[in-house]
Assembly symmetry: C2
Homo-oligomer: 344 residues x 2
């Protein structure tokens, strides 16, 4: 399988497209020469850019006249978007010309277009956006990051199952631990549907490593591999963490600039700081998956650069290599049977 | 009024009580000699501790045999807690022997006991926990931080009105700006009740400085003085920010320890780092108010130290000095009239 992973790239999606898409693809190809890439977008622009990268000379270009606007509503993209680069890139996966699609474009539109073309995994009622954040002990997978502002017990259970598969495919960890985000660790805290989801996730027949409720302050400790929540809370938690990280970086810069001594101090500590920066650099965690779709669809941050986009391509590549879609289909189907047999 | 602010302290509440309560009171008294303090707790323990601080020699002690356990449920504290230091401290405000109460004890119990004894401000349907966090432009007041896991439109509007009064009393800022936490700034994002609350908050007759929806990543920018949300999201956002801050401090320490050069670098930058640490030190933001009660009730973090506890006492003191309770009663009553006249 790894000899030929075929990835369709929405070359026109995101704030800095198509430049960073092409440059990011070149970086990814350097690391994974077996990648078979196709760029979907304005042929003339793409040809001119691709010329600059020797290792992309064999890449395929599929022409698209239009681009989904960053502020387009999902319904609008569905109705009028059939000629857009995003639509045609997803179509490559639907037509089995590609194994995965990566886009840095409008998230709502990508979800709507992919749901229509790739359809959902059988039994999954709601898709979710899942991504990784750095913790003190490595990576933590969080979902939903914004696909559904409201969820129910069954959605959360499915998020747990799919999140564990996703985490294992990317980190290589077997039996990833799963927790539910809540306002306290105690059983009586939070909403009833969280308690019911907890009971289901700890059902032994599901064979999950469920660890209970997780508080906001515990996310970063890294004791839990997969944290599930509704898309409203998940989106706000993720963005609050991003905001706090920027706040720190700002203060750090100000601190080092504040006197001649601290400037010299920075020069002496520079190497160590570069390492720290690498650990917390959001570009290295770029690439969220639209989970629940019957195909690999990876969403890159819209404002990322070529390094960040190359990371999103690698996420897609890892998922294809680890046969993520067949695996997650199997897990969901097994869980459905458990739930069904309980109901009978 | 400032010649004599009377504050009742639950001397037994919190992880490090009564030591840090007494030590914190001494710090606060140094800054505000006009504070009239009473300690509620085990007389023998308190007397022995108070002896150590000359500036507390005139403090009053009110004996309490019992302490509310940190894991007690609110209903349990209400039914069996009448002899606890928390109950008797709140009672001092209810009996008008004190102008405010400060406790580092169990939050749920403090809310339940205070609701019963101090009652709610007329017209307020739900109380909220409101606290301050540091931002790039100063302090930001966030509420609800965990009193209600669900809220409705009316609750959010009242949180906005009360939060603006609270913020003005503490920061001195007139016409504090108010925003609603949401998953996007655009009008169509999030829940319907958020949109309805936004429409009400922007009603000119309420005379508020409403600025619209705020994303998680924008909290820390400091462009909005007061951010309202439900207690589930608020609690998770606050704790996620706290966790991220700890993550950074950990990496910073590791970075400076990683080589002899970075150790020397730290020594050279030390003064600047001490300043940065002061800016982000949670002790200086300690002291959340239980908003909506008809009396000043300040909750200190349970794990804080004497410096943190002294800050919570200062929050209580500022609110009394600025006649917060009469002011917020007036604002809520005016808002009720607006809503009533709309309904007629």
């Amino acid at each position: 399988m790894s000899s030929n992973v075929r990835i369709a790239l929405d070359a026109m999606g995101g704030d800095n497209a198509p430049d960073i898409v092409i440059a990011g693809a070149s970086i990814a190809r350097k690391r994974h020469p077996y990648l078979n890439l196709s760029f979907i977008g304005e042929t003339r622009k793409l040809k001119a850019l691709i010329k600059k990268y020797k290792n992309l000379s064999d890449a395929k270009i599929i022409h698209a006249d239009e681009t989904v606007a960053s502020d387009a509503r999902p319904a609008q993209a569905l109705r009028h978007g059939k000629k857009t680069s995003m639509w045609l890139a997803v179509n490559e996966v639907a037509m089995e010309n590609a194994d995965a699609i990566v886009s840095a474009g409008n998230t709502g539109a990508l979800m709507a277009i992919s749901k229509l073309q790739l359809r959902m995994i059988s039994g999954v009622t709601r898709p979710a956006i899942a991504g990784f954040i750095p913790t003190l002990k490595g990576l933590c997978c969080m979902l939903d990051l914004g696909a559904n502002i409201e969820v129910d017990e069954k959605n959360l259970v499915q998020f747990g199952i799919m999140g564990a598969s996703f985490c294992s495919a990317i980190t290589g960890k077997k039996r990833a631990s799963v927790g539910i985000l809540n306002v306290g660790e105690e059983d009586q805290k939070g909403f009833d549907y969280l308690r019911r989801a907890g009971t289901s996730l700890s059902n032994k027949t599901l064979n999950l490593n469920y660890v209970g409720f997780i508080e906001g302050s515990d996310i970063i400790k890294g004791n839990t591999d997969v944290i599930v929540t509704d898309g409203f809370t998940g989106n706000i938690a993720l963005k609050t963490a991003e905001g706090t990280a920027k706040f720190f970086m700002y203060h750090l810069r100000q601190t080092f600039r504040s006197s001649i001594f601290s400037r010299i101090g920075f020069l002496l500590s520079r190497n160590a700081f570069m390492k720290m920066r690498r650990t917390i650099d959001p570009r290295y965690y770029n690439g969220a998956i639209l989970l629940g779709l019957n195909g690999v669809c990876v969403k890159s941050h819209g404002g990322t650069d070529s390094v960040g986009f190359s990371n999103a391509i690698e996420v897609a590549c890892d998922l294809v290599k680890h046969e993520f879609i067949p695996n997650v289909n199997e897990s969901i189907s097994a869980a459905e049977q458990v739930i069904q047999s309980k109901a009978d």
